[in-house]
């Protein structure tokens, strides 16, 4: 779907893909310029860069370079709080432990998405958070960092 609003996101993603490809190619060459090391990486990187260039040229020709082409959906900023909360959860695992971090994440998510039944909010986050952390801690062969439950 295309919108009429000027959107630089698409161009930025294209540049990011090209940037990653260039950086990775340079890094691979730095490690070793032997044919065996670059056998796949070199031709594949050239193909990616050529496709990026072709896409930019075709979109410039169409006049659609600054229009978003993607699934119809909500603007990115509306989803940002959820993404931020998830990032905070993953980062906090090392300090809060899998048990407490999970309880806090589930509770905050429910709060963010409009759950106002405090009993349900607290009950679910506690039961689910501790339950799932306990299940995985029992099933997995290595220790999981916990704050309240045994490791």
């Amino acid at each position: 779907m295309t919108t009429n609003k000027r959107d630089y996101g698409d161009l930025l993603v294209l540049m990011a893909l090209a940037g990653f490809t260039l950086w990775y190619l340079m890094d691979a060459i730095r490690v070793s310029s032997a044919v065996q090391n670059l056998l796949l990486i070199l031709p594949l990187s050239f193909v990616v860069l050529a496709i990026v260039l072709l896409e930019v040229v075709l979109r410039l020709k169409d006049g659609t370079l600054f229009q978003r082409q993607g699934e119809e959906g909500e603007p990115l900023f509306r989803t940002l709080p959820v993404v931020g909360l998830f990032a905070a959860y993953v980062i906090s695992l090392a300090t809060l432990g899998f048990d407490v971090a999970t309880v806090v994440f589930v509770a905050l998510f429910l709060l963010l998405k409009g759950e106002r039944n405090w009993l349900l909010l607290g009950g679910y986050s506690l039961v689910f958070g501790f339950g799932v952390a306990f299940f995985f801690a029992e099933m997995l062969p290595y220790p999981m960092h916990m704050l309240v439950l045994p490791d």
Binding site: V52, Y89, A133
Partner: protein, 502 residues
Amino acid sequence: MIDLAAVEQGLALLFSSFAPWMVVVPGIVIGLIFGATPGLQISMAMAIFLPMTLYMDFVQAMLFLTAIFTGGSFGSGIPAILMNIPGTSSAIATAFDGYPMARQGKHNQALGVALASSVIGVLMGYLILFVMIQPLSFMVLKLGPAEMFAIILWGMTLIASLRGEQMLKGLMAGFVGMLVGTIGFNELGMARGTMGQTYLLDGVPVIPAMMGMFAASELFKLANKGYIVESEASRKVRVGEIFQGFKMAVAYPWVLIRGGLIGVFVGAVPGVGSSVSNLLSYVETQRRDEDPSSFGKGNPKGVVASESANSTSEAGSMATLLALGIPGGGATAVMLAAFAMHNITGGPQFIRQQTDVVYAIIFANFAQVFLLMVIGLLFIPLLANIVKVPMRYLIPSVLVLAVMGSFGLTGNMTGPATVLIFAVVGWLLRHYGYSVPAAVIGMLLGAMAEKSLLHSYQISGGDLAYVLERPVTLIILALLIISLFGQRLVGWFRGRQRTAGA
């Protein structure tokens, strides 16, 4: 081709006592639970329960492990349909149409289609294995690294070009995914793209990355929705509709047969297996369909194609294991460990000397199929209730499962960190119209492609003429070109014909 005396002995091994059957039902249930829980792999289940097989005789041990395999191959399709999280890489293509079906309120039918296709797939796979185990093992030996590389490249191009009008973005996502898949040590011990981080030396953990790209990024998109299925009337779990799904699967016999054949032959190729077969079968079904644009929007044929192929792959990988002693993937690698624990070496010798045991394993799998159908039918109504859960409860719960599961796969914080990073990448790619499946499959196949290409280079000494001496490679490369440019060429010719006629 079939040794009748060994068939008789094989049946005697199975039916002389009830003991071998005692482990089948627990095996299927374990497989279903592990397959249906995102992050818990079938191979993980088999590895966890492997020590138990020490107390079993060899046939019983193989029955137990193949039951876990069978249960898991269907189980992994359940979260793919209900949550868009393929339980394992063998169910990636199941999510393409299974999840849109669930979102349309057809979750019961989708699960029924998946179960029927799995059941028929396993049955078909073991039937083919029964008849063809010896010729099949011979054929697998004929496939060299050049053919493997051509198959991988063909598969990759097919998936990437699925996007139709946004083919360039599909190819870009797929090829960048392949580059990401080569991060870390290569076969020669050179570490690329690790940024000095030791946890990247073994490469990007692909399954946590897959969880982030597929599941978490999709969940971000749905964060402001009420339910998976918006209409309240559509959220009911109806056993009748599950049976409708059974009928839907049987209504496409050619899709089932094609998926089955692709599953057996691709599943028999070591290292490729069900991760690729489900995708190839899906793409072939879409390519041959009268309405290819309906795929990815809830076409049951997509689920049939994927599930029939990943289920028959089990028989294919068993063929390689039994006939060559080479594991095709994680699950058969655990089985190989079970072989070693019982002082048995797989390979042509094993097939010749213990044909009765091989047939016993195959016959037991015929019976497992019917048990899977019954147990699966009991499980589905329980699991299908997930569509009744509000998204505000479902999203954090699934995200937590993905994070814990990824920790389970890596044993350290690399797993959860990978889920987070690739969730954000997948969310952005999805938003700007890139093919997330192509990127994920690229990551899965990148290292495999590099290894095959390197082996071909070493065998040929860098002489390109080597490819010209490999007819199978040439055929696959021709198919690749046709799948990339075929439709355009046909359109161009038709256009010329019309112009000439006018």
